[in-house]
């Protein structure tokens, strides 16, 4: 019986059905967790883009996010409104890195000029090189910088160059990552500036 071709077909069919059944069940069970994880990573990044919040509050990122941030018509832009007063903008940015997608959130103060902070919450750059964009030494440079006029409001400059009010220093050895990060930030900022202020 075992050597009949039809047995092989039935055997494979049944085994595949059983495996798929279990996997679909498991995927459904965990999908809530996966979505919640992604949302929490985003919310945490939004909070981190406004370093002044962390100093004053011990609350969970999720509570803070729900209380102080308001979604706008543009999915990528959130208004930072503690006590109902507009104090800044959180812009979600997504773009191509050297290896994989990079996602970050940049915080802009209410004057629409000053960067409050930036935080990279998803990336798969080379560990020890491009991946260092997630280290404070890199992203903390952004806080307090002013956006320049023109089509490149922010520049990531090679080590050794003069760092102006609209420049940050690149990660050494991660030129490709930095070029892409600069492009994605500037594109997102340009898109945001074209939107009417709400």
């Amino acid at each position: 019986m075992k050597d009949k071709p039809v047995f092989a077909v039935v055997f494979m069919f049944v085994l595949t059905a059983v495996c798929s059944f279990i996997l679909i069940g498991l995927a459904r069970l965990t999908s809530g967790h996966v979505k919640a994880n992604e949302q929490l990573a985003f919310e945490t990044a939004v909070i981190k883009a406004f370093p002044q919040i962390q100093g004053t509050s011990q609350e969970e990122p999720h509570t803070l996010f729900l209380r102080d941030f308001v979604k706008t018509k543009n999915d990528a832009v959130y208004l930072y409104q503690p006590q109902g007063k507009l104090s800044g903008y959180a812009i979600a940015i997504e773009g191509k890195g050297f290896w994989d997608k990079i996602r970050c959130v940049i915080g802009i103060a209410a004057d629409q000029k000053t960067i409050t902070g930036i935080y990279f919450y998803e990336q798969a750059e080379t560990p020890g090189l491009g991946a260092r964009i997630t280290e404070p030494a890199f992203y903390e440079q952004f806080s307090g910088k002013t956006l320049a006029d023109g089509d490149r409001p922010l520049r990531i400059r090679q080590a050794g160059s003069v760092i102006g009010q609209s420049d940050v220093a690149a990660v050494t050895g991660a030129t490709q990552t930095c070029i892409r990060v600069e492009t994605m930030i500037n594109d997102a900022l340009a898109a945001w500036k074209q939107e009417p202020v709400q």
């Binding site: 055997f11 085994l15 020890g128």
Partner: protein
Amino acid sequence: MTPQPTQKPMRQIMLDCLWYDNPIFRQILFICSTLAVTNVVANTLVMCIALSLVTALSCLTVSALRNWTPRTIRMMVQVLIIAFYVIIVDLLLRAYWPQMSRNLGPYVGLIITNCIVMGRCEAFAGSNKPWPAFVDGLFSGFGYAFVLIGISIVRELLGMGTILGFPMPYFSTHWDKWIIMVMPPSGFFILALVLWGLRSIDVKGKKPC
């Protein structure tokens, strides 16, 4: 029906998997992941645990089904079973350990194409009882693990000055970090040195290769 081979004692199975037939330095299997996941010790540890579990459970299942599986489609069945366990591991990591899931990237999924799992299923589990097959799979995973963890310790220490993310004395302060160590090519160099070193050791009964 394949003839039942003479039973190997459990101790011999374990020793073979860990040393005499070690998947990395004897059989040279699954070298691709050796290059990719050994840059940081934490990633390596999780990868090794995932691989050991997948290998052990796949071998167990393949062995349990061996008397019913038609020989003509046994490879298909093996791949299906391996993929089944790998997807479970991937789902669990994504749901409960998202950070690690991001660190490992595509490599968890690539366990499916891992020659160690397939190799053990085909060479051992297909013709042995479930329990020895489980032990064989698990210890093949361990054999893979100890070599990779060794490589990753060297790479993380020289490349980043840390081990498991903890700064090490001297290496985190005075050591001039070797950037090449965190890049994939250094995996080749260290692996080559490990192969050279371990294969030169004269194991009893077997000449150095």
